[in-house]
Amino acid sequence: MHLDPLTGSAADIIEAVRKREVSAQDMAELAIEAAEAVNPRINAFTCITAERAMKEAAALDARSAAGEPMPSLAGLPYAAKNLYDVEGLKTLAGSRINRDNPPAEADGALVSRMKVAGALLIGTLNMDEYAYGFTGTNDHDGDICNPHDTTRMAGGSSAGSGAAIAAGVVPVALGSDTNGSIRVPSSFCGTFGLKATYGRFSRAGAFPFVTSFDHVGPLARSARDLAAIHDAVAGHDPADPVSSTHPVMSCQAALQEGSDGLRIAVAGGWFRQNATREALEAVECAAKALEVEREVELPLTREARLAAYVLTGAEGAAFHLDRLRTRPNDFEVETRNRLVAGALIPSAWAMRAQRVRRLYRDQVLKVFEGVDAILTPTTPFSAPPFGTTTIDIDGETLPLEPNIGIYTQPFSSIGLPAVSVPVWLEGAKLPLGVQIVAAPWREDIVLRIADVLEREGIAEARPALLE
């Protein structure tokens, strides 16, 4: 299945709708057909919201026919991870337990802002249970397959988001990122993914996991499309207690500045350990294109990641404690076992971890006084086959799942903006992500660099050609 307008960029689609070369209803129909055709192969969608999408599209077309100005994302088909509230649907968050909840009475903040901006919700997307995983496997709704090789993992926890874009169903999807859950599926599925600064995007109406780490945000087929989504949905929301009032800049406008004058470095130390040769080569490729020669070390990264691991267990378990008490056997086995273990963490361990987290944040911000952006691998390896439990790197056999997020987790824990861009090494059959990280509120910088890499031909979101 290869539907031409849907393998292009969001910007192209919005422009075509604005010029009335194609109607919003045409775009909705194409995306719905694509979702229905492709989903049996990849299991990315848990619900296709055809009726809603057609209604949204018809309303837009009526406005267009009346000569009204079109909103910024007019006619853009997209889908949302099923932890976002969608009016009239149950917010599953990948779980069995949430199926007993009533349907959401209103859209979550980002879904609502996408609607105001004219985007068309095509469906809700499969994910790891309660966002606690990097593999895109789910006992309740089935595993999500990587469109580039359906025997392989899509990466989690926003697995359906990555897979739906890579399969050419939608050009944009909403995901969430607690320890890397936007960036990991971006790396495995070959999409662009933005985790903005903590507090930049409202999480109201998104089912939590570890609230002091939780971010929401977009995956897309280009840096320009991420910038368009950023500009449409960023901004203060009093309904999210950590939503920031920090001024929002136009990232689309910032892209014109390119990367000239930016001080960019490659991260050494931790970010060169436990990576495959291919992951390091992808970073080198990006660094070469950007003429980066400098390397920086981020002190305490290993310890900060371990602190994040402790805190994820403690805070995640505290959030789920009632469900662990009353419905422990309705969780997936591994989710339950990890959360129960987290519920047993002494407060002294958690408090100590919080102090190390703050120390790490302070030290990393000092590094950003001397550089504007840092490049790292997004994941240490490309998408593994389903059933993989260990990975061999540099002659050492390591457990798979704990190592998938080793480069993303440190930056979620201190809330820095980061984007993952897809790199295809010569002859590679699978993509690999390169992560670009900047100081707080500098989404413009990470997107500018991502855009340059795309224009230089280093980063590319290739749609998978599923038959």
Binding site: R325, A341, A353, R357, L359, P402, P440
Partner: protein, 52 residues
């Protein structure tokens, strides 16, 4: 120990979970030990919520 800790937070541990929960708790304990080894002075603040 995990049974007693679980009971203290109102979770009734079942036999078939014990090995899995224990393995995860031991992994967390190992991580916490390494975190504990980071030198911190008395002024080091905890980070409940990150604010830029």
């Amino acid at each position: 120990m995990v049974d007693a800790l679980a009971a203290s937070v109102g979770i009734a541990m079942e036999e078939e979970w014990r090995a899995g929960v224990t393995a995860h708790f031991e992994a967390i304990a190992k991580a916490a030990e390494e975190v504990d080894a980071v030198p911190l002075d008395n002024a080091a603040e905890p980070a409940w919520h990150y604010e830029a």
